[in-house]
Symmetry: D5
Subunit: 92 residues, 10 copies
């Protein structure tokens, strides 16, 4: 089942620029894995913001939560919203 | 997977009281079937309103939509919101 | 450029069921054309509602408006929102 | 009487990871007691967030408040909402 | 247990002025009964509007709903909100 | 004239527990005085929160402000809302 | 005591233009009386809308309600909000 | 002084298509005059909707209101918002 | 042209009480000047809050901004809203 | 394609006044370049706030994001909203 997921993420100001760069690298790696597994299907940037909109696929909300929580940036993600999507009859 | 579903429902003023009573009877019947199938697990009334909150279970959002759309009252349901629920670690 | 578009659509109560069915057929046809042109890329149903979320592609907002306004259901579409999407660096 | 209760909870950044783990353990223990007493009936996780939705039962809002305030995490709970639920005629 | 209840009520324009007056009289009568039973404790008018705020007492939300639904104006009440109130320690 | 007043109050984290306890004691004392003067008529706790709803009486909004500002907790009160209440014809 | 009052007003479409003109005339007359009594102190138009913002003075919210309800346009006023104003120390 | 003005406009369903076309023609004519006078500086369409965003210039809000009210579509304009704009130092 | 302006203002906790008192004095002085110039016409306190509502007069939004920015408290003002007011026909 | 972009920007309190002045100078320089390139077409100040509204032109949302992210103030910009604008038929 597909979900539309939004979140903003912002490492704390106290984090040094090197640690921040390292975190971003890890985030990209984990995202690549989730894409390979078919869990993360598309990702867009909300223009002008540090937020993203993504199209995710998971068997249920529990597995979706586990995928989101596996992102290294998870502790600094906020304003997360998850919207369940139903298949449109035109696409059945 | 479980979903928390809210909606208000109100047959139109133009519907006669007999037709309305008939519709309510059909609604109860269909709800009973959905309970027997394990799709509708709990239903509460929002006090003071014509709205309900329900706990539903369906494999995905498409099947949930089909269940909701099978309710005879569906054409007069409004302000419908569907919230996906993840299993809490304490209940795993 | 991609856009995330939401709308609800509801033909008026006064429209007869035959005319409504005809309108739905025309809507499906026009949507099929827009898919063939690559303008309408994905369409999901918002579970429990008469609303949809769609992923659209158009050179700019003017062409997107023209595509949306070409839908036979356009006069009865409401609560339309259009969100511009930027490419995420991971997908560049 | 049943209540639908939502809250997010987040121990402060200044709290060490050991103290945080200890707090989580205490939280689980107290939740287990409240389940045994029939006060906490179900708990779900809001996917992607640190928030929960729970179904609680208490004689009145004062006793519900006492139960919520007895959670070790209470001082760090925020955005708490409590919704009173009425029995639906179908379940009487 | 006490509840803070708000609603606006407005008989339809199509109702004649005599019928409306009759309805208002019945509403006052039922309200008087609910006061005598200790269910309706206070009622205020929201200045400038056709809305009221009331302090109600009922054993639970189901009985509160039954009291509200017993008002002759109930079919024309809208924007109803019910807020559960807990006893403040200063008043215990 | 009566007012419905809501606020949340939270002394800062930096305040020591002894100072906090002292502040709470002073708050209770001042509230007792305001009750004796007929300014504070009822106080309820919003379940699950650090917020209160109160029924206050004052000749006008200026005197009401002075009463609220006389509370020792005033510097840490936030999300304060004041709603003017009109007498309902049923209570005249 | 002063109040800031907003409302929009719109006679129904079914009202003929002559009746509407008559109503407007009566509204102006009543407003003139309320100004003479010192109840209506200032009135502004919200640009682009059929709404007004007004500065009113009344001993309490009950008398303010009576003044607003005395306007011939009252049955067609909607989205009415009343905000109580306290005297600012600079103006005492 | 410049203002950012938004509105949606929708002639009533009961208006015949010829009358509607005539109204649209008059609207375009009046808009052309307002552009010539320098009152209406730019007009954009909100994609997917019957709404517009416009950049207007007028000496004050009263003259702006008069300009908006001079549009033949004014009686069917709704959700009108007017935002005052200040000159940015970079453009002084 | 008149504007209705709201804002809350709160010097930071780190500011000492002497500096705060000095700032308040400067604020009163500047407000007195703006009153003398006819820019600040009325000021009300929002009861229970640290916010004010004011009636201001300025030739345009740029001059209004300059007046607001000239207040010594400006760096600590937040939630500022500015609403343009049009003259009501009854007051022309 | 044109976009209406809003944002507030506020360098952190910890930044010294010299660094802040330097940042403002760089911001003006980059804005001048974006104006020369035709990307930033107009900029207004929201009166009373540290926010701006701007009219931007970019081929798509990705290039718009790049332009916004190239502003030296970008790390301290918040509440950014981007609204896509379609050409109005009157301006085609």
């Amino acid at each position: 089942m597909e979900f539309l997921v939004r979140f903003e993420s912002m490492p704390p100001d106290s984090m040094g620029s090197q640690e921040r760069e390292h975190l971003r690298g890890q985030e990209r790696e984990r995202a690549t894995e989730l894409r390979a597994e078919g869990v993360l299907k598309r990702l867009w940037r909300v223009p002008g913001r540090r937020g993203v909109v993504g199209l995710w696929e998971a068997d249920d909300a529990t597995l979706l939560h586990d995928a989101l929580a596996s992102l290294p940036m998870f502790p600094w993600m906020h304003d997360v919203t998850v919207e369940p999507l139903a298949t449109h009859p035109q696409e059945r």
